[in-house]
């Protein structure tokens, strides 16, 4: 039967292989391809100042981290309040090389892809370690266990001479086949690197979710008693979930270390952990693209509040920084509002908009 490859009106699969496809129509695939191309090309078309590029880069690093957090909290249902600590593990893995070898050693400047990967692996190892209490603890108690890891991490870094007691450890400029990345190229270079990492990791997650390694996460979230009866070790599955999240966080940490060209404890505090959690919630827990919406939305909110407060400051002629007052307020308000009115996050709006466009002009 001839079917329209671009617009599907129903299910015309003739094999189970076809049903596994990520993109059901050629339109879906092209749309994503176009979006990725657009993301890759726009910096070449417009001139951007580096401050704006840094914001974009920061969002993208957060996307990597939230992808991981979404796996453990969204899909496996284990609340992790220590995610920034895992990001920190990745960053400090890179930083430890800088401390040992010097910030401009060839390992740091040339083998940076390996170091970022290593950051991920160390993150995964710590994730598994922190996940061990999940064998016994559940729900709130497990969340507190992850919180304690956050505290231990901060404390250890603050008191270790090797890590400069939490003060910034500088990381050198990296080299790539085209030479050393200069000051002007820095943010653009990392934009492309992080974008590549995101595309690779997002496809990895998408693939994972259609196999037993993804399904077991959802199984322990929904009903770990039944998961047990279905032949999954619930405890080990949870440890594995934490290891996965640790890997993503570690990679994000490695990227962040290179992006900021320095590692300091102030980027990996409890505040950041909560921020990641907020991004995951606002984006939409348990959805893949929620990991993209969340960081973008929270960051956009930050910028919005900043410009709003400077505007208010001008009108009311108030001395002092209004943004510091408005930021926590708006942040808390947004989380509460999302939890109350849209617990499925921005991802749900996307789903609604998508199905509306798909079915137009029909209602359903």
């Amino acid at each position: 039967m001839a079917t329209n490859r671009w617009l599907a009106t129903g299910n015309f699969f003739s094999s189970y292989r076809e049903e596994q496809r990520i993109f059901f129509t050629a339109l879906d695939r092209s749309a994503l391809l176009a979006a990725v191309c657009l993301l890759a090309l726009w910096p070449l078309l417009v001139t951007i100042d580096s401050k704006f590029m840094l914001v974009i880069d920061t969002i993208l690093v957060a996307v990597v981290a939230v992808l991981g957090l979404n796996l453990v909290t969204g899909f496996a249902g284990l609340i992790s309040i220590g995610h920034a600590a895992f990001v920190g593990i990745g960053a400090y893995t890179v930083a430890s090389f800088a401390r040992l070898l010097g910030e401009n050693h060839v390992v740091l400047t040339h083998a940076w892809p390996l170091l970022i990967l290593l950051g991920g692996l160390v993150g995964a190892a710590f994730g598994a370690l922190v996940g061990l209490p999940a064998m016994r603890l559940k729900h709130l108690y497990l969340a507190i266990a992850t919180l304690s890891f956050q505290m231990i991490f901060q404390w250890v870094i603050n008191f270790m001479d090797f890590f400069n007691q939490g003060q910034t450890i500088a990381i050198g400029r990296v080299a790539w086949p085209g030479g050393t990345v200069t000051r002007g190229q820095h943010y653009l270079f990392w934009y492309y690197i992080i974008l590549t990492v995101i595309v690779v990791l997002a496809f990895a997650v998408r693939n994972l979710l259609r196999t037993r390694y993804g399904r077991c996460l959802i199984a322990v979230r929904d009903n770990d008693r039944a998961a047990d009866a279905m032949g999954m070790h619930p405890g080990l599955t949870k440890v594995y979930a934490f290891a996965l999240a640790g890997f993503f966080a570690g990679v994000a940490g490695g990227l962040q270390a290179y992006l900021y060209r320095g590692v300091g404890i102030e980027s990996f505090t409890l505040h950041h952990s909560i921020n990641y959690l907020a991004m995951a919630i606002v984006g939409g827990l348990g959805t893949l693209h929620g990991a993209f919406w969340g960081p973008a939305a929270i960051k956009a909110l930050d910028l919005l509040v900043e410009s709003f407060s400077s505007w208010v400051g001008e009108i009311l002629t108030i001395s002092g920084n209004l943004a510091t007052a408005f930021k926590p307020l708006s942040f808390g308000l947004v989380i509460v509002l999302f939890l109350m009115f849209e617990p499925r996050g921005v991802a749900n709006w996307w789903r609604i908009a998508r199905s509306y466009v798909k079915q137009w002009p029909f209602r359903y």
Partner: protein, 253 residues
């Protein structure tokens, strides 16, 4: 011949004896029912077999495997599947996903294959899907394939529960009150499924059920529990005239 051997199993919770010296042999390929009044220990016995409880004393053996202290995920690996009395489905997932999940132990590709999703993982998942479709076909769940389980009616959810246990491809299936709370028509369906399972899939079935009519009609062997003790065992005909059983459970007209 014995497929499952439960010998002298005692299960105590503090001072309460849930099961006392329970002996049970289950022969392959037949339907064995466990009946008894509420609180007699039927579900506790199933919990012991499927690994959610571990007997205080006594042993449970399945072929060469000693299952006395085995956790549930190991019990399911040797070929015993269980359908729960109170629905324990993955409520937020579709029927299809619920069943795909149950094939966890049959999928042997590595994490790396899963991430790349080319070759082995993709092929195994297609086979997995094919097997699941066979179960869907058998349990007549076609209309609900893509429905979210939590939204389905109770009777259908019960059927999904049974289908999910079946998807594990067990040799021994433990059914805990599969007909509880169903109307006569749904009961007839389930009975038909159970009989077909025995005949076509040659699965051994252990059935816990309150509907005596059903039990007496379809069982090959019956065990009667009361206060955690076996008070009668034998064919349905023998049970029907067993004095102790009549006094404890069946009653007289």
């Amino acid at each position: 011949m014995t497929q499952l051997l439960v010998s002298e199993v005692t299960l105590t919770f503090g001072g309460l004896n849930a099961l006392t010296q329970v002996d049970m042999t289950i022969a392959p390929g037949i339907i064995t029912s466990v009946i008894g009044p509420n609180g007699a220990g039927k579900t506790s016995l199933l919990n012991c077999i499927s690994g959610f409880y571990h007997p205080t004393s006594g042993t449970i053996a399945y072929g060469d495997h000693d299952l006395t202290q085995a956790p549930p995920h190991r019990v399911s690996t040797v070929g015993i599947a269980r359908a729960f009395q109170n629905l324990e489905l993955f409520r937020g997932l579709s029927v299809l996903d619920n069943l795909l999940l149950a094939r966890h132990r049959h999928l042997d590709y590595s994490l790396w294959h899963a991430v790349v999703f080319l070759g082995k993982a993709s092929q195994r998942e297609a086979e997995n899907r094919h097997y699941v479709e066979k179960v869907i076909d058998f349990m007549e769940l076609e209309p609900y394939r893509k429905s979210i389980v939590g939204n389905l009616s109770y009777g259908v959810q019960k059927r999904v529960e049974m289908a999910r246990a079946l998807t594990l491809a067990p040799q021994l299936l433990l059914l805990d009150e599969p007909m509880a709370g169903m109307n006569i028509e749904e009961k007839e369906d389930i009975v038909r499924f159970i009989l077909d399972l025995k005949k076509e899939w040659s699965v051994t079935i252990v059935l816990v059920e309150h509907d005596l009519g059903v039990v007496m009609d379809i069982s090959d062997a019956v065990y009667v529990l009361d206060f955690g003790q076996v008070i009668g065992a034998g064919s349905p005909a023998e049970i029907a005239v067993n004095r102790k059983v009549i006094d404890a459970y069946i009653g007289e007209e």
